[in-house]
Symmetry: C2
Subunit: 437 residues, 2 copies
Amino acid sequence: MAKALKVGVAGLGTVGASLVRLLSVHGAKIAKNAGRAVEVSAVSARDKTRDRGVDLSAMTWFSDPVEMARSAKIDVFVELIGGDSGPAEDSVRAALARGVHVVTANKALLARHGVSLAGLAEANGVCLNYEAAVAGGIPIVKTMRETLAGNEVSRVYGILNGTCNYILTRMEAEGISFEDCLAEAQRLGYAEADPTFDIEGNDTAHKLAILTSLAFGTKISDDTIYIEGITSITTADIQAADELGYRIKLLGVAQRTDTGIEQRVHPTMVPKSSAIARIDGVLNAVAVDGDFVGEVVLVGPGAGGSATASSVAADIADIARGDRTPVLGAPAGELEDYIRARMRKHEGGYYIRLAVYDRPGAFAEIATCMATAGISLESIVQRRNGTPYDVQDAAPQPVILITHETTEEAVKAALEVILSKGVVADQPQMIRIENMN
Amino acid sequence: MAKALKVGVAGLGTVGASLVRLLSVHGAKIAKNAGRAVEVSAVSARDKTRDRGVDLSAMTWFSDPVEMARSAKIDVFVELIGGDSGPAEDSVRAALARGVHVVTANKALLARHGVSLAGLAEANGVCLNYEAAVAGGIPIVKTMRETLAGNEVSRVYGILNGTCNYILTRMEAEGISFEDCLAEAQRLGYAEADPTFDIEGNDTAHKLAILTSLAFGTKISDDTIYIEGITSITTADIQAADELGYRIKLLGVAQRTDTGIEQRVHPTMVPKSSAIARIDGVLNAVAVDGDFVGEVVLVGPGAGGSATASSVAADIADIARGDRTPVLGAPAGELEDYIRARMRKHEGGYYIRLAVYDRPGAFAEIATCMATAGISLESIVQRRNGTPYDVQDAAPQPVILITHETTEEAVKAALEVILSKGVVADQPQMIRIENMN
């Protein structure tokens, strides 16, 4: 058997500790199948004294991860520090530059520096593997880098953030508000004390940026993503979706169009019959449409120490076995420029919820605005707030429109006109509908 | 760039022709990403004159696949002939023996000769890849061989036969009988003229045999699988399942138990809330439970020329890239013996449908038999065939029992006693319930 593959682990939080445990529990299996033992020989973290439930006594301790990346006697540097710059970036660059393979779970780092890091890895003839960076335990990176080799991908989309999916699932199941769900998610540890990054869609956007590059062979472009979070979703929307045959999910979607590539993160109406509609709670799911394979959907845990460690271990085992795949599927030097499709050119169906003043002609005015903008309606749901139609009531009433396929700019223009007419009380709610098989 | 990888394709049916087309359409992408061009240089099929919609003029024609495997100037032999012996087996053995990589979609061949072929491949330092052999376009072989490297698998199960799933889905959606659905599936090309192999569960069993070896690192044992097909499923069962919160799917399940490994193929009650319950029509799905990753579910097309060709192309691209994975995950020489868990020791819940004679004490007798066998009941549904309770009616009435977790031998013993008492009109229907998260 070949010489043991020596691994240095930087960052000993939940994932790092799980990884050390995994390699001690399943080291023999990995060695047998990869033809080479894997051995954690160095670790780095801030606090040396903390009890992490794993035995670190045989490993060389580094208090500085960059120092470990530069000087430890290791074949693989595992970066579990986090952050898109600072020690995470410095240590990864240091390791790659000296010809040490890197495995990372750091989506922010890859979304920002993926192309440059890929170039550095390839120039030094080493791997940069990051299965854990997108959708935790789900093997979507391997699927896109390797399995879809013989496909042109037209779209990749998914539920990439467990916190948002947990909140939307609970809102639907219990009929409770976004705020109450968020508070509960925080109490249960499914949401951070500062949840902004998750609920505003930024975490999903980081993962999407990576998937887009893998899907289309383009350079990563993480600052051109259209992002809308889930904070504006109400129980009224979720109820209306249910009645109309949809569920609301926060999706990241990357899609090739005639004018370029769309990258968008937003609450989305998905048909109840679709596989993605059934993904509940903290689970993640990713769907890819390839021209030969059709649609493949992968479902699994998107986060958690053990599931993430499982993906990191698979990346290490690939290196031990000698598998060498270009970091972003295509070699870094051959990635094409990303050409952005403008969001206003987006085509699709739309769900629109309006609070319409209850006065004669209001609804006719709305219908006229939609028609003038060239938007045809698939369904209209008008419902009084519990008051029968013959009672005079000045309070605005909810009206829900589902459009046929149209463009974002047509919808926005129509809603602007409707607002200007003074027939609706609030800013309209608008949720995109995603077509699925 | 390295020298082109020369491929010989044996078998030019739907999959073979799709593969040739795929490699011509996406050859440039594969070459770029794998660092090596892939070139079909030889083909073999029975009928040279047939128009397959692809240009074969640049390829050397062999009328005998074994001759092609023995003598063509190729690096990879692609076997798309089918069958667990004859030319398929002979050509694969010939290719491996002379150090030519093999890619195959042939589940029957692998289920029967997988261990011996794996040994031959490994002895000759070449790959034997077979992603397309299990669940068509779904990357389950790669996921099990590579992604789950750092996991102990406790169970793998799935919907592995599109024909059966199509029939069960239609029976539920339309309320029509098994026979009518089968006839329709045949008319639409979803079922063979002789559908026995699919509907009796044998095709599922072949795929399961391979998954079992990958899951547990054991030798393939395809003649120890408990197999029940879907021919006994009635609309009454499907309706009862629906009312009780289940759907009926033909599953292949391999599971580690205290007494060995269970391999079983049978109609199964799956909770409606599970991901697997939502897999409709000809789709396939495979779920794997790993100790670190938790449950991962992969969904996609289980058959079809293009989807199957996509998997074959991925296997070829892996070879071009230089990826070398032991055929069955663990090296052939280190596969453990398969220890079979007896079906009668199987533990789980059961659905039982009885046709009970409508006479005083009949139901008490049944309840007593179950209690005597130590089986506790979770629910009992007794319903008259449209006749109100006060009408005297001698026709047997359906009674449905759902048991708590018990053993197969207890259920079988209880049903035998019930039959012997003469209180039921027909052979009881018994469908296993599978636990899912």
